[in-house]
Amino acid sequence: MTHLLVTPSALVFAVALVLVALAISLKEKIGLERDLIIGVVRAVVQLTIVGYVLTYIIRVNRAWLTLLMVAVIIFNAAWNARGRANGLPHAFAISLLAIFVATGVTIALLVAAGAIAFVPSQIVPIAGMIASNAMVAIGLAYRSLNTQFRDLRQPLLERLALGATLRQTAIHVVREAIRTGMSPTIDSAKTVGLVSLPGMMSGLIFAGIDPTKAIMYQIMVTFMLMAATSIGSTIACYLAYPQFFNSDMQLR
């Protein structure tokens, strides 16, 4: 497995790749230099810390520590999803519940089916994948809700004026937002293997695992992400849409 060793000096050479991106940003006046540098610094710092943390968690192999790590991942994912909610009331609580249930249910099913074992080396990466996909799905769903509640204000008002309940008023908006949240997962499921060789599969092949075995894992991951994003965006949308109305059943 020596061919897998990335030495610190090799990483330093990789910095040259960042310089290419920086040079392009400067030359083309894209104005992303600051974000690029922040991104690079954060990636290095965060991943280094996580590397050491994961090594420790995997070594001590305690259930509570594994669950704590999963909780941290879910909390961060919810915090990020809240950022895309554009001021929606209770966005953090809604995101936290949605991502918690999506991650919890999916992992519980995978463990119950024997697809993965309850060991930190499997639970933590899988939880990370699920939570991050749920986070993206929920973020997109929030954006769709915000856009629709703004653009479709008049037809929504007309439904309310005719005596529709909040659900009858907003159900088509909610459905569209769930669709929007799930569409990247469905699109990537359609093109998986044709366009992208996803991270998990690539990582296993990199590590010398038989590609057919790696593919079986990837199929599991694809299905798992479909379940997680649908659970996550459905919960988030159903809890979020009433926030667009006040207690008098009026549009905010």
């Binding site: 037809p155 007309e158 439904r159 005719l162 005596g163 529709a164 009858q168 008098d248």
Partner: protein
């Protein structure tokens, strides 16, 4: 003497710093046809939206059928006090989607014969049911929207310049439908600039710059 259907007492609406409506007070008796006149931007549409519970007054009270408006369950109230928008936007894909909506929200099956009969009252053909809403003219849209309000007859019909921009023939049809509903006992409160509607009305309330003008 019958009790009023609608009573506004010192109603005001100041959502931010500037008041849109101040100290509006009037009553509407059952079966009346009352018009609200006044220049553009004087707060007439806001007044209808307050009565329709799409906005809540910041001062004063609105009483409907003897009870404070706030004591009603909103969906039940809005099915009785039906507001038709100025330049309504239809929803869904076809005319049918719009006309079945009042049935859907009441969890009742829509009766196709009832829908075609309703279209006929507005001089619209039965074939219009399946027409996509994107292919309708402004006058057709306005008539379909009004039908949504009338399929289940409301007690109080709030009309927000529903004949503005319609051609003379369509205007006549719409006036006729409104007059017939009024004759059946539907109370009408209509914001309008239309001379014929003003003449049709039992009386007119005039609003200017958010205040009610004292009638002679």
């Amino acid at each position: 003497m019958p009790s009023p259907l609608l009573t506004l007492s010192a109603v005001g609406y100041t959502p931010h710093a500037t008041p849109i409506l101040t100290d509006i007070s009037f009553t509407v008796m059952p079966g009346e046809f009352v018009t609200i006149a006044g220049p553009s931007g004087s707060g007439k549409s806001t007044l209808l939206r307050l009565i329709a519970t799409l906005l809540t007054p910041t001062t004063g009270t609105i009483t409907y059928a003897g009870r404070p408006q706030s004591s009603y369950e909103k969906t039940a109230y809005r099915r009785e006090v039906s507001y038709c928008f100025q330049q309504p936007s239809l929803f869904g894909r076809t005319v049918q989607d719009n006309l079945t909506f009042p049935y859907t929200i009441r969890q009742q099956p829509a009766d196709p014969e009832r829908l075609t009969a309703a279209l006929a009252t507005m001089s619209l053909p039965a074939a219009m049911l399946t027409k996509p809403i994107t292919e309708l003219s402004g006058g057709e849209k306005q008539r379909i929207a009004l039908l949504r309000n009338l399929l289940f007859e409301p007690k109080l019909l709030l009309l927000d310049e529903v004949t503005t921009g319609l051609d003379a023939v369509t205007k006549d049809t719409v006036h006729q439908v409104i007059a017939e509903a009024n004759a059946r006992g539907v109370t009408v409160l209509s914001v309008t600039h239309d001379d014929r509607e003003l003449a049709q009305a039992t009386r007119t309330i005039t609003i200017a710059a958010g205040r009610q003008e004292v009638s002679a």
